[in-house]
Amino acid sequence: MIELKGLTKKFDSFNVLDNIDLTIPKGTAFGLLGSNGAGKSTILRLISGIYRAEGGTVMVDGENVYDNVDVKKRIFFINDETVQFQSYTLKELKNFYKSFYPKFSEELFEKLRSTINLPLDKKLNAFSKGMKRQAIVIIALACQTDYLLLDEAFDGLDPTMRIIVKRMLVDAMIDRQLTTVISSHNLKEINEVCDSVALLHNGKIIFSKDLDSVKGNIHKIQAVFEPISPELPQTYTMEELTGLGVEILHFEKNQSVYYIIAKGDVDEIKKKLAPKKPVVLDIIPLSLEEIFIYEMEVLGYDYNVLAQN
């Protein structure tokens, strides 16, 4: 289990992370979402013990990570910047990591390497960007750590490699309760791979919960209400509907049709809107991408503003 408590990280006087609490249970695939500069990579670097926090604690399996070799042996971090050791061959790079990770499996490494046909004796500076990525990913999987941190990790991998990685993750999750923490802007990927997500904005956590409850708790509603008379359609304001106890994130009206983004359980929303006599009431779940955009809109990170200026 990964536990962050009251975590604060500053660069100069700038709070990149501001008093964050986050718990990631063992065996989950956890997705970190957030705007650019929200602090996603900083969290991963703190969990992997690269950064020292200004305040609060980072505990992995109940121990502090920073400068703790025993804990770090159980964590592998794939940085979003590709491999730094340009003059190493893949073999040398593998041996380098092998010296730190006691559970490293030569067999697994060779199986993966031969599958994607990555040359062992070529220097990494002769590798393409995608191949460097593949190299570090197969080394990471072969290290068989309990925790795998992926910073924008699926970037630069081709579709076949993505499937290989996903299938490897499935095995590792079932066989040894692997915990993965993934930061990504690719919400489709997060949707497939993760079971829990946290949304970050300006160094704070907006929410952290399991993905299905995030998706089940926010809906797009299309509604038409019973008109006062055939000529006179009803006009409700957002406040009137909010007054019924519906938590509305976004409100739009086009003639008699209302487009509403609301939070809450489907049946609850239906019940609350019932007194206004809806003739049409279509409620559909939002995609993760839409959830991201509307949650951000509420926080003032609104794409509409940019369009207007």
Binding site: G27, T28, A29, R162, I163, K166, R167, V170, D171, M173, I174, K188, N191, E192, V193, C194, D195, L211, D212, K215, G216, I284, P285, L286, S287
Partner: protein
């Protein structure tokens, strides 16, 4: 068999849940048929095994499938499961809509007689 839409707005576990019921209704999955293991289904679809496990748990809770420890999950007898409820709920919705647009009860009743012949 369990082709699901990874781009869909509907949560993956819910899709798997519904897909299983559909396959039972269509007769593709029959009583005592074995479902794929969580591992193989998660790998095939490229999704999180916890998600697959969650939909299996939900199916089992509603007695649509049963599991035998060490052997896997199997389809329950339909009369004991909530597959019936699922179909009837769909039916209710259609009836409500039919009534709303003015189809009479008698029309609906004779329709049932026709279709169920």
């Amino acid at each position: 068999m369990f082709d699901i839409d990874l781009q869909s707005r509907v949560p993956i576990y819910e899709q798997l849940y519904k897909k299983t019921i559909e396959l039972i209704i269509k007769g593709v999955l029959k009583e005592n048929d074995q479902l794929p293991s969580v591992r193989s289904l998660a790998k095939e679809l490229g999704v999180n095994p916890n998600t697959v496990a969650k939909s299996y748990q939900e199916l089992e809770r509603n007695k649509i499938i049963y599991s035998v420890s060490g052997r896997g999950s199997f389809i329950s007898k339909i009369s004991n499961s909530s597959v019936k409820d699922y179909i009837l709920e769909d039916f209710d919705c259609s009836v409500e809509e039919a009534v709303r647009i003015g189809i009479t009860k008698d029309e609906l009743k004779s329709r049932i007689d026709e279709v169920s012949l």
